[in-house]
């Protein structure tokens, strides 16, 4: 009982104080990290469900948007985290639950993004002629569904030829598929200009917002809403005969089929579900960025999302959420902040062991360490905690 009270007080204090810290030191990365950490604490603390939900609601619906007014960049980070959380959750279905290693996942994100980008910008006039495009901005909401359907269909399309493949073979084919989509986007500017090639498409319409809400806040809430839906869908799928069939396929495909699991249908369903989440986020991404080109959908992005899933814990929904957050924040804030700080030291001419940092050759510029540190973190994680930060826990049930 005592621990629960202590935990509850600590959780409330952590969220409140860290949010206050961000508002007092709006430029301090550390304060913002504390705020994120307090949410993790709320998740892990032994507190009643309503308090947890309340604190999450308070932090994500009220405090985070307020922080956005203090420092807009933090809201941008939060929005990007949301986008990647949805991607990681989608990939988690394919890789984590069904055990189908997909190295070209970003292709579905691209399909969703281009489906809105093409008709939501004047670009479509080049394809269809006339001047009917861009479509009215409100059709963006309809395209959230269109993006979902198109991406799911693409998922099935990818799934069909690779159904018989497993493990390494499947990974290679999906890798190729991801590259094919990117190369198509890069080269389909002739004979018919579908994607405008490497120059990309711009300006992409943004949906109308009510009461003059700024777009940064608007997209934050939109992404948050989609993430909530995705998490709910993920949880419901996982805790049903569908999710159990996926896991059975991951554990032993042959036994699963012998127990009555239709492999083809369940695998295609996994691909379609995973892809659909990416498709929806693709539509949002293209509207948010106003400009997209094939550079946003490289192989490295697929690997990044996979790293999130593996870092968080394969097959674990909280793991995917945390993995996406950690990787995105590392990339956007921590490592950038670190290299900025090192740069400052260098510019200030600080000496270490009698060696002036200002004399460092350009090859050793701090900014160049970012990727290396990220890699080292991944390697260390895999050695020290191969099951991921928040590994999937088996559901314990009261059995009659």
């Amino acid at each position: 009982m005592m621990t629960r009270v202590v935990h509850a007080v600590l959780a409330v204090a952590a969220v409140g104080l860290s949010a206050a810290a961000v508002s007092i030191f709006p430029r301090s990365i550390l304060a913002f990290l504390l705020f994120q950490g307090s949410l993790l604490f709320v998740y892990l603390a032994r507190i009643p469900g309503w308090l947890r939900l309340g604190l999450f609601g308070l932090a994500l619906l009220v405090l985070m948007p307020l922080i956005g007014f203090v420092n807009g960049y933090y809201l941008e980070v939060a929005t990007q985290v949301g986008i990647f959380v949805a991607l990681a959750l989608g990939l988690n279905i394919v890789v984590g639950l069904a055990g189908l290693l997909d190295l070209g996942y970003v292709a579905f994100f691209a399909v969703g993004a281009y489906s809105w980008a093409i008709v939501g910008s004047p670009h479509a006039n080049l394809i269809f002629g006339g001047s009917g495009f861009p479509l009215p901005a409100w059709t963006f909401y309809a395209f959230l569904l269109v993006g979902l359907v198109v991406a799911a269909a693409t998922g099935v399309l990818l799934g069909l030829p690779v159904l018989r493949l497993r493990g390494d073979y499947l990974a290679i084919v999906t890798l190729g598929f991801g590259e094919v989509i990117r190369v198509l986007a890069n080269n389909l500017d002739k004979p018919i200009n579908l994607t405008n090639g490497p120059r990309g498409i711009t300006p992409i319409s943004r949906p109308p917002t009510a009461f003059g809400v700024p777009y940064s806040e608007y997209f934050y809430f939109l992404v948050l809403a989609i993430v909530v839906v995705v998490v709910l869908a993920n949880r419901r799928l996982e805790d049903s005969h569908v999710g159990r069939a996926w896991e059975a396929i991951r554990e032993d495909e042959l036994a699963a089929q012998a127990m009555g699991v239709p492999l083809v249908r369940m695998k295609l369903l996994a691909f379609a579900c995973g892809a659909s989440f990416a498709g929806v986020m693709g539509v949002v991404f293209s509207a948010k960025q106003v400009f997209i080109n094939p550079e946003s959908f490289t192989f490295l992005e697929s690997i990044g999302v996979l790293a999130m899933v593996i870092l968080g814990g394969m097959g674990s929904i909280p793991g995917a959420v945390l993995g996406a957050t950690v990787v995105t924040v590392l990339n956007l804030q921590v490592l950038k902040g670190l290299s900025l700080w090192l740069n400052e030291l260098k510019n200030a001419g600080v000496t270490v062991l009698g060696f002036s940092l200002a004399d460092l050759p350009t090859q050793f510029e701090p900014a160049k360490y970012e990727r290396m540190i990220f890699g080292v973190i991944l390697v260390l994680m895999m050695i020290l905690r191969p099951q991921g930060i928040l590994p999937a826990r088996r559901r314990q049930r009261e059995l009659a």
């Binding site: 049903s240 069939a245 896991e247 032993d252 009555g260 559901r395 049930r397």
Partner: protein, 266 residues
Amino acid sequence: MTALFEARGVTKRFGGLTAVSGVDFVLAGGIASIIGPNGAGKTTLFNVFTGLYEPDAGTVTFRGRSLGGLRPDQITALGICRTFQNIRLFGNMTAAENVLVGMHARVPLSLWDVLSRGPRFRRVESRLWTRAAELLERVGLRGAGNEVARNLPYGDQRRLEIARALASEPTLLLLDEPTAGMTQAEAATLMALLRSLVADLGLAVLLIEHNMRVVMGVSDRVTVLDHGEKIAEGHPQEVQANPRVIEAYLGRGWAGRARSHRADGQ
């Protein structure tokens, strides 16, 4: 009247090796066993019966329906389910979840039911879990439902495989060496369970078994395979006395006359 399960002239080759050659097999009900030395083609025959292998020749019919060209999951849905010789549980899932996967073909829920999670979903889902608990209790795994399958003791894993197969509500249950690695006492308990299943559910059971005490004690009929061919069939006592069976198991010295082509292959 057609038999429950009927195989005619089943042949399966792997490259140059004929694993099963022209085997006829009929099962009307009760408990039947397939025995034979290692490599006789017993498991291959099982794999043909359950659709894991497509036979090179021959037909398999179940309740008057041909199984040719059907996938394993379709055959399971029709009412044939099996266990595996080398246990193939879903190791990282709990015992209860393993059993629930076995019910997959019988779950009357659509994707929309799952995503909307309405009262219908909750009703069906709670019924499934109740049934899983019943099945676990039936095979003697009461209270083990939340254990992760790969952490269960060996004998329990074998029993869990049977519960998982039963979950698909089969009419015909195929068990591939269910007592392997069990003590005589455990094996006897398992056989009692099989008999009660046959009596209560009208289930037909086909066993592959090496434990002769089990085979002779429980089977209504015994079929003997050797080198992919059926060499004997009948009541346990008849089969036990058959010289070809003795020869297949103990070598030619025991059964009198040698057959040279067989001696070379050993």
